[in-house]
């Protein structure tokens, strides 16, 4: 708590010292560097240096065609890769002015919410462990693993999902999916209850997080905060409600809002959002409409692999979409499409010149504003507060540095 903190006395001639936290410090996840000026235990100045994981996402997208760029989106937020896939393809579909059939929209929504749960669970797990709570880490990772194993059975990959395509999905959900998801939803609710008992009223956890890393709502807007970080500052903004995409309009769910703007609320709001995502998944699976998941136009959506290898028509359709100088060529123009990713507004800004490759494929990194605001959160605090602050912003290097 701030009033109990050690305050450096001016009459003591305290020398300041430069400390580098990261890039090879475990709590910085190996990819960002914090350059701190400390006097004793107090942080006087802080600077954040990023870019250790920059791989040239935009340049690579510009060198590949519209269908190929999706694999790069997996590698943005690698804790919830499928949301990035969905966001990219919704933007491409907006650019091409097409709409996915309603079953495809529901499938995308259900998978996005599963990813949101995984992302929140990972964020909470890592943050709890960094504060010494190893049990919640194990519980939450177990919970995430259940979803990832389910996704692996559907998608075939754990991290590099690339499961969406222009005009739809790689495949429909299998028949057993709803029953399997139902079981994991129950387990997720149990884990959430356990984590509540372990963290939310835990004196040690509260002491480490309450009032720490404060950022005012005005600053949060100025920094461009979105997602759980903004909603824990009492500002109600969620793209799923402000500009509903996919099937979110047909679903009954709530947006949790907390008002303390501190690390504790950022953790707590993620726990609350996991419950809401469970509600969305449950309703989405119950309402899942019949019909195709993919757009029916063969000039837009890729044929299923069984047709490509099993029929001449399928092979030709595949050829006309992928080989040599063939492929989708969206009409020249530009779009920005935003979706609610686990960390906030994930926007894609695409520019087409009517060519095979994107002229520009920009992604708005959701965690960049949080990382930029980190010095303000940790300044005047103590070194030990850096860890919970950094854990609460859920910085994902792949997305931050692109």
């Amino acid at each position: 708590m701030s009033e109990e903190r050690y305050i450096p006395r001016n009459d003591l001639n305290i020398e300041t010292m430069q400390i580098n936290l990261g890039p090879s410090h475990p709590t910085t996840h190996g990819i960002i560097q914090m350059d701190l000026q400390v006097a004793g235990e107090d942080i006087i100045e802080a600077d954040v240096i990023i870019g250790y994981l920059h791989r040239g996402f935009e340049k690579m997208c510009e060198a590949h065609n519209w269908n190929q760029a999706v694999i790069y989106t997996d590698r943005l937020n690698y804790v919830s890769p499928l949301i990035n896939n969905v966001g990219y393809h919704l933007a491409v579909e907006k650019l091409m002015d097409i709409e996915v059939p309603s079953r495809g929209q529901y499938v995308r929504m259900v998978l996005s919410e599963i990813m949101r749960i995984c992302d929140h669970q990972t964020a909470l797990a890592a943050a709890a462990m960094e504060l010494g709570g190893f049990t919640p880490f194990l519980y939450l990772m177990k919970g995430r693993e259940l979803w990832w194993e389910l996704l692996e059975r559907v998608v075939g990959a754990r991290v590099t999902t690339s499961f969406t395509r222009i005009g739809g999905m790689v495949a429909d959900l299998p028949d057993w999916f709803a029953a399997a998801a139902e079981d994991i939803l129950l387990e997720t609710a149990n884990i959430n209850r356990e984590v509540h008992t372990l963290l939310t009223r835990n004196r040690i956890f509260i002491d480490r997080t309450r009032g720490v890393g404060y950022i005012s709502p005005e600053d949060a807007i100025s920094y461009g905060f979105t997602g759980p970080m903004l909603r824990s500052c009492g500002i109600e903004y969620d793209v799923r409600v402000a500009a509903p995409y996919l099937a979110y309009n047909d679903i009954d769910f709530e947006i949790p809002i907390l008002t303390n703007c501190d690390v504790y609320d950022r953790f707590y709001i993620r726990l609350l959002e996991i419950d809401q995502s469970c509600r969305i998944i449950k309703q989405g699976l119950a309402k899942l409409p019949q019909g195709p998941v993919n757009h029916l136009d063969k000039n837009i959506s890729l044929p299923p692999k069984s047709e490509v290898y099993g029929s001449i028509e399928g092979l030709m359709a595949h050829f006309k979409l992928l080989m040599n100088d063939n492929g989708v060529r969206p009409e020249a123009g530009e779009v920005y499409h935003a979706i609610e990713a686990a960390n906030g507004e994930l926007g894609y800004y695409l520019v087409s010149t009517g060519e095979l490759c994107p002229h520009k494929c920009r992604v708005r990194p959701t965690c960049m504003p949080f990382t930029q605001a980190l010095p303000q959160m940790i300044k005047q605090g103590m070194i030990a507060d850096v860890v919970p602050c950094f854990g609460s912003i859920n910085m994902i290097g792949g997305e931050l540095d692109r």
């Binding site: 430069q18 560097q33 350059d35 600077d47 240096i49 990023i50 870019g51 920059h54 040239g56 935009e58 340049k59 690579m60 510009e62 060198a63 907006k94 650019l95 002015d97 600053d219 807007i221 100025s222 920094y223 461009g224 979105t226 500002i235 903004y237 402000a242 500009a243 123009g333 530009e334 779009v335 920005y336 935003a338 507004e345 926007g347 800004y349 520019v351 010149t353 002229h359 520009k360 920009r362 708005r364 960049m368 504003p369 930029q372 605001a373 540095d401 692109r402």
Partner: protein, 166 residues
């Protein structure tokens, strides 16, 4: 397509300053000259009828060899929480032509402008902290320009000595 809400209002407020406008796929877009950017941005943020509190994204596009009036477009995406509307503002500049910084109006512009500056070589006049963001200081060239070879490689740089920070 939804009806246009912001563009007519901006045309009424700024008149000739709005060089062009379009709403491709429903995204309202205006193009303004760089010298009016600060004035327009301040009004966007503060005018009751506009109230674009969020600067969601800031980037640039290189239109080399594409027969555009100027080579680069700096693109700003604004979002109004009050009115739940979006607006894209674009500024056209040539190589070396400065764009005024918005870092004093939106804190988020600080890092976005640093990134745009190092990737495209666009100068943001008055930026409070013009260091590179994602690239290292010794990096040569502007990687997102269209004339930058995507296979270009760079030599290893000397490791920094104690006390030298990036």
């Amino acid at each position: 397509m939804s009806e246009l809400l912001t563009i007519p209002l901006l045309q009424e407020l700024f008149g000739e300053t709005i060089l062009e406008s379009h709403a491709h796929r429903g995204d309202e877009t205006v193009i303004i000259p760089p010298q009016s950017l600060e004035e327009v941005a301040t009004r966007l943020q503060q005018d009751e009828r506009l109230r674009f509190e969020f600067l969601m994204d800031l980037t640039a596009v290189d239109y080399l060899h594409l027969d555009r009036p100027k080579r680069f477009e700096v693109v700003y995406h604004f979002y109004s929480l009050t009115h739940n509307r979006r607006l894209r503002v674009k500024v056209r500049v040539d190589d070396g032509e400065p764009v005024p910084t918005l870092a004093l109006l939106w804190k988020t512009a600080d890092w976005f402008e640093r990134e745009t500056a190092e990737m495209y070589g666009i100068k943001f006049a008055g930026h409070p902290d013009p260091r590179p963001l994602l690239l290292y200081p010794e990096f040569k060239g502007y990687p997102l320009r269209k004339d930058y070879d995507q296979r270009a490689s760079h030599p290893l740089v000397e490791s920094r000595r104690k006390g030298e920070s990036a």
